[in-house]
Amino acid sequence: MATEETLNGMLKKYTGAQLFFLTCMRVIIGWHFLYEGYVKVTGEGWSSAGYLNAAPGPFAGIFSTLGHSAWMVGGINIIMSWGLTLIGLALILGLFTRTALVGAAVFLFLFYITNPPWIGVQFMAGEGSYMIVNKNLVEFSAALVLLAFPSGQIWGFDRLFVKQ
């Protein structure tokens, strides 16, 4: 039961407010992923091809190569749409939270480097003003914070399935 004690030992350190806001953050990121996944799964004619082809920055060549392969694009589209959906569900439910957070961090890191707001890079403009830091990077950091401060074992289904 050492693991259990250590786990509980760490969890005990959360105040009610800490636990509440960590859970909120997890659910909010989950909501974002779930909706982004949902529109891609259900959206007619959605494809990652254009985004990959338009990717600026130092990795543009790699992404453009992927974007020009029908086969790769097909695979990426499935991974993207279902990956986002499943991660979103997992984060809201607090089920397999660690795996989902690692997945979320990987996705966010890739989104960040496909369109990095670096100085001198002609990145695709969106709403807001960015220099190096953008919302993808903020959400990426939030995913890492949630990895360091887990909440699924307290308020979430990981409580039932993980480390009993």
Binding site: K12, V39, G43, W46, S47, W71, G74, I154, R159
Partner: protein, 555 residues
């Protein structure tokens, strides 16, 4: 600090445990409810908007043409010949599935349905282009020095014509007479009368004809035609379209190969069949500018009107089902690309016209100074009085600023710059309620279709609806994949050949309208008079009769 894990270790999974585990589950309920509300609202506003059109749908016959599905299952090999295998000819061959082994495959090729074509014949007036085509065919193509000889061959079922404009009509007519199916590049003809002759020959022979306006296949026009068909814009009184380019290549000042020279020369490369090139136009001594940069000269090309205006007017004709305009007025001139000296490095290596000029660059002794005679700034105004519509086209070859193809209607405006965007008019009566209720916003499109981005959402960032493949001239979207639209246009032609159906995406009637419209612009400019189309008598008329000497420019 309190132990807020609350885990009940004594009895395994207890009721309290389960409640805490499921603590965030109600969020999914909230998500579902929000989704339902949002979808219902989106659906409602789209339907509400579409219902506000004032016409029953299905009035434009061009819509059914766009959904063509091949009927015949037979997939016999079709033997094709290429006549004119320069810049555009090579692109067409690549899109049709032919390229030399040392070249990279065209983008998106791997996922495309094979067309089952065999390249059996090539005719070109420049020897290296012939060599390219033979290599691209895998050695199956035979060279014929004249198009007449090529058209006599029984192992040619269909021909792709990508010569300079002054040969489009003679070759297309001869091909139709020989019973060969024809894919010909735009502008369909160089001269006004030739449009009648090509139409007659194609209809008489019953061959399958396709004019090379590949951008008809761009999927944005499905949505654009739906918007027009339903009458959502109210009364469309003005359409604005344009071409802007700003490079020497864009202004048709192409590279001239290092090795070139007329066949008739006593020595040298002797790889250009100049005598045949000028045999149906003004006789002049060999000039590489006039051969390799033919689009810059009226003797061989059709200028901005036939070359670039037709891209715009052809799709506007498809979307609006307009036919030939009643009048054309034009103006323009050579404002910027007045004179050009072709350069080489100090070592004698040719420089492309858009290359930076290195130190010590020298004029090439084999290329005279070029003075184009087609305008680089051009504006034409077409009118359809029976439709209460004016279309304004203008172009400059010294600016690349994007301006859009814009349909201005009394209730809404449609902009085809990046896809399809429909904006409610601030003074619209029909959309007033939508605007008031916030379902339509004035500074945002009321309806928006993106060619490539699908619903405009690409990845988990909102930055993404921004990009597009500009103007849809190269690629479009099919089942989520980027597809080369020239491939689609050739496939449409081939499918119709296999089905023995002449109603292709850009058929002979579309081609006839394209050519007459283009030539009205050219004549209006070159003769300095308003040109009228007399639809009843199928004749062209001038407001002020040009002198005989002025009419000489049209020969």
């Amino acid at each position: 600090m309190a132990d807020n894990t609350g885990r009940d270790n004594r009895s395994g999974v207890g009721r309290r445990d389960f409640l805490k585990a499921a603590a965030t589950t109600p969020v999914l309920g909230a998500f579902g409810l929000s989704l339902y509300k949002k979808e219902a609202l989106d659906r409602a506003s789209r339907e509400e908007v579409l219902q506000l059109g004032n016409r029953p749908s299905g009035t434009n016959p061009n819509i059914t043409k766009r959904n063509y599905k091949r009927a015949a299952s037979a997939n016999d090999t079709i033997n094709i010949g290429i006549i004119g295998c320069g810049g555009r000819g090579k692109s067409l061959m690549r899109s049709a599935g032919f390229w030399p082994p040392d070249e990279e495959a065209p983008r998106g090729h791997e996922g495309q349905e094979k067309l089952n074509l065999k390249l059996t014949a090539v005719c070109d007036l420049f020897q290296p282009s012939v060599d390219w085509a033979i290599k691209a065919s895998g050695g199956t193509a035979k060279f014929y020095p004249t198009y007449q000889e090529l058209l006599e061959q029984s192992d040619v079922d269909a021909v792709v014509i990508a010569t300079s404009d002054h040969y489009h009509a003679p070759v297309a007519i001869a091909a139709a007479n020989a019973g060969k199916h024809v894919y010909v590049e735009k502008c369909m003809t160089k001269k006004f009368e030739e449009a009648f002759q090509v139409r007659e020959a194609v209809k008489k022979a019953g061959i399958v004809f396709q004019l090379g306006h590949q951008n008809r296949n761009s999927d944005r026009y499905d949505s654009a035609m739906e918007v027009i068909d339903k009458g959502m814009l109210g009364e469309v009184t003005l359409i604005q379209c344009y071409t802007n380019r700003n490079s020497r290549n864009g202004a048709w000042v192409y590279d001239i190969p290092k090795e070139h020279g007329p066949k008739s020369a006593p020595s040298g490369p002797r790889n250009v069949d100049w005598d045949q090139y000028v045999s149906n136009t003004v006789q002049r001594p060999y000039d590489p500018n006039r051969f390799f940069r033919w689009r810059c000269f009226w003797d061989y090309g059709t200028g901005l009107s036939g070359d670039l205006l037709t891209h715009e007017l052809d799709v506007i004709n498809m979307v609006m089902n307009l036919g030939i305009p009643t009048t054309a007025v034009a103006s323009g001139g050579i404002y910027y690309h007045k004179e050009y000296t072709t350069l080489m490095t100090a070592n004698g290596d040719p420089l492309d016209s858009d290359d930076p000029v290195p130190q010590g660059a020298l004029p090439r002794p084999d290329v005279p100074v070029m003075r184009r005679d087609v305008p680089d700034v051009f504006q034409v105004t077409y009118e359809w009085p029976d439709r209460n519509l004016t279309v304004v086209y203008n172009a400059t070859l010294s600016s690349e600023h994007e301006r859009g193809q814009i349909y201005l209607g009394s209730e809404a405006t449609m902009d085809l710059t990046n896809g399809v965007d429909v904006f409610a008019d601030p003074q619209s009566q029909r959309y007033a309620e939508l605007i008031k209720s916030g379902k339509a916003r004035l500074n945002e499109p009321m309806i928006s279709y993106r060619t490539v981005a699908g619903k405009g959402i690409e990845a988990i960032t909102s930055a993404t609806s921004q990009w597009t493949i500009s103007k849809g001239l190269l690629y479009t979207l099919r089942e989520g994949r980027l597809v080369d639209i020239t491939y689609l246009h050739i496939k449409n032609w081939i499918d119709h050949i296999r089905d023995n159906n002449t109603n292709t995406m850009c058929n002979i009637d579309d081609g006839f309208q394209e050519a007459i419209t283009a030539h009205m612009g050219t004549y209006a400019f070159r003769l300095g008079t308003r040109v009228r189309w007399d639809a009843e008598n199928q004749q062209i008329k001038f407001d002020s009769q040009p002198s005989e000497s002025a009419q000489q420019v049209l020969v």
